[in-house]
Symmetry: D2
Subunit: 396 residues, 4 copies
């Protein structure tokens, strides 16, 4: 129970690299901006090295440190386990935590394989029966502009969806001398651009449209097959490759796929880390019978809306600055036109997760949603391996 009479929820986080840093900022900030029925307490951080973890805990504001995730899961002062590790450990930690009665927030992709994702989704369904909740961290759903897009599609303002055009374009490995970091290794990351950023556009597209991809035809490619070995366990960070020794890239550098939506529309997806000049261009355009929407995360506070019901002479894509008080999440922050940044999406995410826990409501995106994405990724890999043959995506 906090000083203000609200119950406290103890948070334990595993991992403190890129995702751990941004999750920490979300846990630290959420109570100052959102009036929540519970108050999160940053109780324990888990990492492999005691010293480095202690240093990170000091910087990021965690009260205690663990070096074994099982101990973290077992702590009495941990009610929520926040998993910020690479995908190869998600299933084991998440399932153990759920079985121990801890709510779980798990970074995406849910897992590295469909089988793991299925086991996690099953564990989440079982836990939900006992009031223990799981959520997968597709943070881009919490960009105000993306949430507004979903709202407008649900309200019918776009009409029947004919086209989805989704791209996630980055360029951080375009240089062949960029080292072989863990995100380029199948054993750690499961896949390359596909699972890392392709997963985001699949979830975002399915979320905004409220439809599913039912079949896909795909091409994948690895442009640079040998890279200098990375020092340590660097994630996104470049550093200098150690030069002398190289290793084989065994994940995709880029994945392209086209497919059909459950509502009859056509969809096109592209995930790549070789789009020079595009830094974090998660783009989504939807064309419907009544209107269109366009979004690019590089200008994350804007949603472009074409209202096709207006007279032709007046119509056009309008730039809606998604910073008004009645836009999703935006009212909690600043006056109109004072934009938000990347980490706000995580603050919104933990806000929704805390709200769901406090009110006993299943949070979204669920592990089933995570599994839905995983099945699309699986179908993409199958299609790519079978001469791009149109491959059905099984529903959850």
């Amino acid at each position: 129970m906090g000083a203000d009479g609200r119950p406290t929820l103890g948070i334990g986080m595993v991992g403190y690299a890129f995702m751990g840093r941004v999750h920490s900022q979300a846990w630290r900030s959420v109570s100052a901006f959102f009036d929540l029925p519970v108050r999160p307490s940053m109780n324990a951080l888990c990492g492999r090295s005691a010293e480095a973890t202690a240093r990170a805990a000091g910087t990021l504001g965690w009260a205690a440190v663990e070096t074994d995730w099982r101990k973290l899961v077992g702590r009495d002062d941990v009610d929520v386990v926040d998993i910020c590790t690479p995908g190869d450990s998600h299933a084991e930690i998440a399932i153990a935590a759920l079985e121990a009665g801890k709510h779980v927030l798990c970074e995406k992709p849910l897992a590295n394989t469909v089988a793991e994702a299925e086991a996690m989704a099953a564990a989440a369904r079982a836990a939900a029966e006992r009031g223990v909740y799981a959520m997968v961290a597709f943070n881009y759903r919490r960009v105000p502009a993306v949430a507004l897009a979903r709202r407008w599609v649900a309200e019918g303002r776009i009409g029947r969806i004919r086209h989805v055009r989704a791209q996630y374009l980055q360029d951080w490995i375009a240089d062949p001398d960029f080292p072989l970091v863990w995100r380029l290794r199948r054993d750690k990351a499961g896949s390359g651009a596909l699972g890392d950023i392709g997963a985001h556009i699949v979830d975002t597209a399915q979320f905004v449209t409220g439809e599913r991809l039912t079949e896909v035809s795909a091409l994948t490619e690895t442009f640079v097959t040998e890279r200098p070995l990375a020092d340590g366990s660097a994630g996104l960070a470049a550093g200098s490759g150690s030069g002398a020794r190289t290793g084989t890239v065994d994940v995709d550098d880029a994945a392209l796929f086209i497919g059909r939506l459950s509502g009859g529309g056509l969809a096109s997806f592209e995930a790549t880390r070789f789009a020079t000049g595009r830094k974090n261009a998660l783009r989504l355009e939807i064309n419907g019978s009544a209107g269109s929407l366009a979004f690019d995360f590089e200008a994350m506070n804007e949603l472009w809306f074409h209202d096709h019901t207006l007279p032709e002479a007046e119509a056009g894509f309008r730039r809606v600055l998604v910073t008004e008080a009645d836009h999703p999440y935006a009212g909690a922050w600043w006056p109109p036109g004072h934009g938000l940044g990347y980490e706000h999406t995580f603050t919104h995410e933990v806000r929704d997760f805390l709200e769901a826990i406090a009110t006993g409501t299943a949070p979204e995106p669920s592990f089933d949603d995570g599994l839905r994405v995983q099945r699309v990724l699986g179908a993409v890999e199958t299609s790519a391996a079978r001469q791009s043959r149109l491959t059905p995506v099984e529903d959850v």
Copy 2:
């Protein structure tokens, strides 16, 4: 021989609808802006109705009228035959004209089938032996920004091409009550969005990259299968459908395909007339190891260029206004910043065609280039019919 001592080249045009109007403006304007070794003379216009053709000739500035294209081809004062009819008549007219020793400018797509395109390409090769030239009217090559893109790719400024992202988005048939004009009928148009606008992005992408699409995986769709019958032979023009009676749309409303380029890159294409709010968005983005280019015809005087060889802190997509004196074609017109419009691409096209004829050089895009596009379109239709299976594109 004109008054200024330059030889005159007599032009005869078949068709005077949308394409005929814009070609007329090109023939009428070219000599005022480009210093050419020959002077075109707008000698004869051919259409089916004598009265309507005479009226069009008066408006558009043609000296005489024919109602049988064979007569036009046979006229002594016609040195060049400009074919602006639907695709089903291209092969017959073009081959006859070439055999009659007339240079031919033929609207795109070159033909409605690969077989016709092959026959035309063969005729063009044979004619070229006799100094008679043929050109297919892929006018978007003559947008100064597109020509500049080609120049920069050829100079190596983009480096090795990793990605091509091409879209041609329109929305003029999104309304199910839009009538069944000839462009929606297979017998006239051959295909739908694929042949009409998909052809343009295939040619533009192959032109700018200097590479070929070697294999494709495709999806096509007809969203609206029954439409009101159109009155007369309307092209793009809407008019009111006759209401009571409807007909079946037997062409694609949209075509999506992904594929590989001869240089090892990945490519994505989308042609649709259902992208509400997009009016004539021919878009091309190319990502290479040394830089990227992006173009959208809706802002046709701009080419966006990212120079990836600059320090990261200074790099970004720059908006080059392609109106400088040393940009392709631009120096012939107005001072910097005074943009050009759609029909200028045709003026550039006939300028290049006239220059080629006068200097005895084979013009481009050749009928072989047109055939190359046709083969891609054929592979797209084959793939779409075979569960999107990756389908090779035979080279010319």
Copy 3:
């Protein structure tokens, strides 16, 4: 009487440099796109050098040549005199032509001084009594997007106007070695950026708002006071300065002014040729109680419209592509999304002028409108000379 039974109007043009070239294209093209009650005939071109004028006439399509503008005015086959010379000769030619019963189209600025402009306006009023019309060539009124802006303001869609923000930014003399062309000499051009491009934004702002500037406070500056002498009478063209000899720039390089509108709003104007990277950025933004409009000629086919009567969560500046059939002028050209270029504004201008003559209606912008602009420019120069003191602008 033309072949089609329409009366012919003989056109005589004085000057064939930049403005003459673009006016020629307008006269040449207008009948092919607009269904006019009269048909212009390009009968005579006037220039100082017989040889150069004959060459220009051949290129631009004029039937005869004169070397004395008085002879041109006196020709029986000249019904309209189109004045494309520098501002110092406008008054003399225009007044003589009007007195000779010839309709006059005169390039802007109307004159180099307010006194000349007053004499011209008086002559135009007198001529109008006799059915002889005069028009000043503020071509930017004929950009479809600008005409649409005017339509929407007149319909009340912008509400009460609070702010006008007008800029005309170029950079062609930013280099101190650019030579002293006639546009930089007071005797020829009257003023510098002020009269050349400042005149355009004053007229465009007054046209779109339907209001007048009632008082102004101004600053002017000449950044580069000595420049190499130009060879010949070059206009915009750079060429190489002759190096050894220089001359004094006695006009402004840039002019800034703020002021009040007759409706109570505030306005800000800036005209400069030193805005590096801006090529022909004629920009206008209007903020009213019910909405806002924004325009930039560098993207001339777009009008940005904010509808302030929409709910805040839906509002935003929308990019209207001004290429729809019911947009001003646009229906005469191409399908939606196929943009127009710079010279189309002149084709629209002569279209409206011919229509006015044929129907006996006074064309706009009238010489009175030209005088209104001249009075603003005069007040700007007065204010700049008097410590920026707020200076009233007398109405016509």
Copy 4:
């Protein structure tokens, strides 16, 4: 001394409305992202109502509460006083705090009058002698894109500055029924748009150029002179006006001014809250002999740069996403393309302030910088009252 061995600096903040909320987030976040030699501790918050202040302290994370700013200043655990109140109280609090040996961070505008600002600047100079520092919170200097602009100007990449074009456009009081909040009352706010947002663009322009405005000519206007009385002391928040009773707006709704820079360039400024559709458009464009820069806070992660030293055919405004590791501040946050938001500018501000205190360096912007801005605002008001007469700005 914190747990990690770094000295702790106790922060006391006065005011907890809009500015207080955003400053709190900055104090809360700074240590997690920047490696600082001191650690701020949020020790005490001061407000007038004990209850409301306690509630705010709980939400925002302040350890203790005061209701008298003198007590806050007197607390032993307060080393820094952060002033987030309206301008009428700045001078008194800041001078008292500095005299009590407390470092001061003061919101802008520094004061409501030049006289107050002078007293504050004098106090700051005296305090600095004793190692006690003062800083005025012009947060927009800490937008990474603005800091990058400053860097490039200082490096000479823009060359000699010819033009500055600065606007701060908002629309939150365009509705005449918006109530008379404190920002619209002279006794509290000093002036209207001028002091609130005009101050920002004056400081930002002087910061980025490294030059001063030396003389100005100005117009100000109050469009809506009577407004419903506000309930309570609402700031930006609208609420419902109480309807029956109204009060007089005695500050400007908009201020326009033009002037000269110390380096010889021309500058144009506009501050308004009536620019419908513009939400927080702090815009700055600088044109220099070697290049140009353009910025709009509504897209705060972008800086547009035109390099005028490039060949004309390659040049154009490039969109630099200011999210690279070697961009100012950006390296502390996320990977490229993951943008920042409004409050980050405050985190950067307190980071620089803490760094300055810890290293004994005078922080910037200093109270002298605040005074410089105040003198410009004073000259603007003088000019506006004297028929826009060009009015010199005295240097500090």
